[in-house]
Symmetry: C2
Subunit: 327 residues, 2 copies
């Protein structure tokens, strides 16, 4: 895989870089942001990275993470190049309109490096873009940029790239786990990344309250093969004093049952407002269901938001699954 020449030239020719990523940043967002920051710094550039605060507990081990600044203090004045990683439009960077507007109006070079599908806003926004929906993680693209610049991975960059890969492949279990992913993982380990340490930091980091939330989800599970549906009410969130981020990877677990081909987790983030995460196995394309409800995603992992009660939302989902002959 070959980064566009225009991108490589922009990285070589500019001096002051700002790197941003999407809201609720995950391991691939932070990993890509930090790997690219560390790389550009090695090349002698001045680089700053901003993201939403606070940095989630599980990503505090990432090399360079302490240099990430709070997005609310962002000022665009001193940069000649803005890079969005794992994110392809200003709107995804922040829920704050003034930040989004200021990014749109930025006068310097605007680069997008991402593995999500581009949309019209990306085309309008980016001066240079490299968007590869076929790669498993944006950090894979950062790896190829290192290669193109003849930069040998060091432990810090390798750890960030590796983290991006495991978070976006579910630690090598999703169907984006390719020959390429393993070959890059192998190079990351060679350069010093420690798989079991990174796994523990990224995934084995639950608080007791998160563990109790998980038990709650399991008790709520309704299994009607091929579908399993779990529900976490707003009352549970409040009672256990947990937040949405505490449910990360919960829905993956629901696929563990042999006869379950489609798993859904309903999270009532606010009273009467439900986020639905869908997962499927094998050839079952669940993204079309999510799209019908105004959401989106990939074949085996998608989601949408819906108002109303759990029972209503569940009935609507079941009806839609029947319409698509998935039930």
């Amino acid at each position: 895989m070959n980064p566009p020449k225009k991108l490589i030239n922009a990285l070589k020719e500019n001096e002051r870089f700002l790197i941003l990523t999407h809201t609720a940043p995950d391991g691939d967002a932070f990993g890509s942001q930090l790997a690219l920051k560390l790389l550009l710094e090695e090349l002698g550039k001045k680089v700053e990275a901003f993201s939403e605060y606070p940095i989630p507990e599980q990503y505090k081990f990432l090399p360079g993470v302490n240099s990430i600044k709070d997005l609310k203090f962002l000022s665009l004045d001193s940069f000649d190049c803005l890079i969005l990683v794992d994110c392809n439009r200003p709107k995804r960077v922040s829920y704050q309109k003034d930040i989004v507007d200021s990014l749109r109006e930025f006068k310097g070079i605007k680069i997008v490096i991402d593995h999500h599908y581009e949309d019209n806003e990306t085309l309008d926004f980016a001066t240079v873009s490299w968007i590869c929906p076929e790669v498993a993680a944006t950090s894979v693209l950062i790896y190829y940029i290192c290669k193109k610049l003849n930069f040998a991975l060091n432990k810090e960059i390798a750890t960030n790239i590796y983290t991006g890969i495991i978070v976006d492949t579910g630690n090598f279990q999703f169907d984006n786990t390719s020959e390429e992913v393993f070959s890059i993982a192998s190079e990351c380990v060679k350069a010093g990344a420690n798989p079991s340490f990174i796994y523990q930091q990224s995934f084995e980091n639950w608080s007791i309250k998160r563990f109790n939330l998980f038990k709650n989800m399991l008790s709520s599970l309704e299994v009607n093969p091929p579908v399993a549906i779990a529900f976490l009410s707003n009352d549970v969130f409040k009672k256990l004093n947990v937040i949405e981020a505490d449910t990360e990877r919960f829905v993956e677990f629901l696929r563990i049952l042999k006869d379950v081909k489609i798993a859904a987790l309903f999270r009532e983030i606010e009273k009467g407002f439900i986020k639905v995460s869908l997962r499927s196995k094998g050839d079952i394309d669940i993204s079309k269901i999510a799209t019908e409800f105004g959401g989106g995603g990939h074949k085996n992992a998608a989601g949408y938001r819906i108002s109303g009660s759990f029972e209503e939302a569940k009935m609507k989902l079941i009806e839609k699954l029947k319409n698509y002959s998935l039930l």
Copy 2:
């Protein structure tokens, strides 16, 4: 890594092979057995494989698995070469004394290919042995045998090797997950192994009763950082109609809590007879604890058996952890 010349010669020069593995075979046992069987058959040899029956549900997808015969019908008459894989002595092949004795008395070439530590019995038994405790899985050794014989992996062999790797590395999360492991995984995928399919078959295969057993384990969990202890009583096993194999990988899950560095699962297999599985994070060597109780294992994964009540067994473990300043 280079297979011994004596081993390669034995594989080339003999014609009728019998391949066996350990009791309660797991993914590396079956994967190694089948990968080697398929390889030798490609080389025109006559090969048979036997194991304990029934074949566990999660390994029924393995290419060639239907050719494995029930160990209780084993007859050694027609073979000139006996190979033990993922197992280094006759005693580990069966609980039946007559089978073990017949293996010891086998007059042909006796080969051992394994990644567990050898003991004196291995040295007495094997004509040719290749034992590499430093590799993550025995199937990695089968991979090197393929290479040495200039045999290009096909999809069937690659799927078996890949399964051995993911089962013995906990799908790339244990500290045996090396550069080598990823590089071989990459070659397996290139040859046709499908990571998400193999993951689903091997790991996302729980029955409802196994799921209920898991919920039971979670409710029993006592968390006193850095230790978490869970217990499954014989009554629970009986009530839910589950067997020991249904607890596979349960103890791994107990590491998920951030503050837990040592996890223990007590399984009362028979009334008053407990199997203890221990897991640790990072540098904590739990194998010395297991050894003290007459068991064994690796740094981060070990186990032992103990008689008595759960409370007694728990107290003995806690005392031992204190003796070793792990608590």
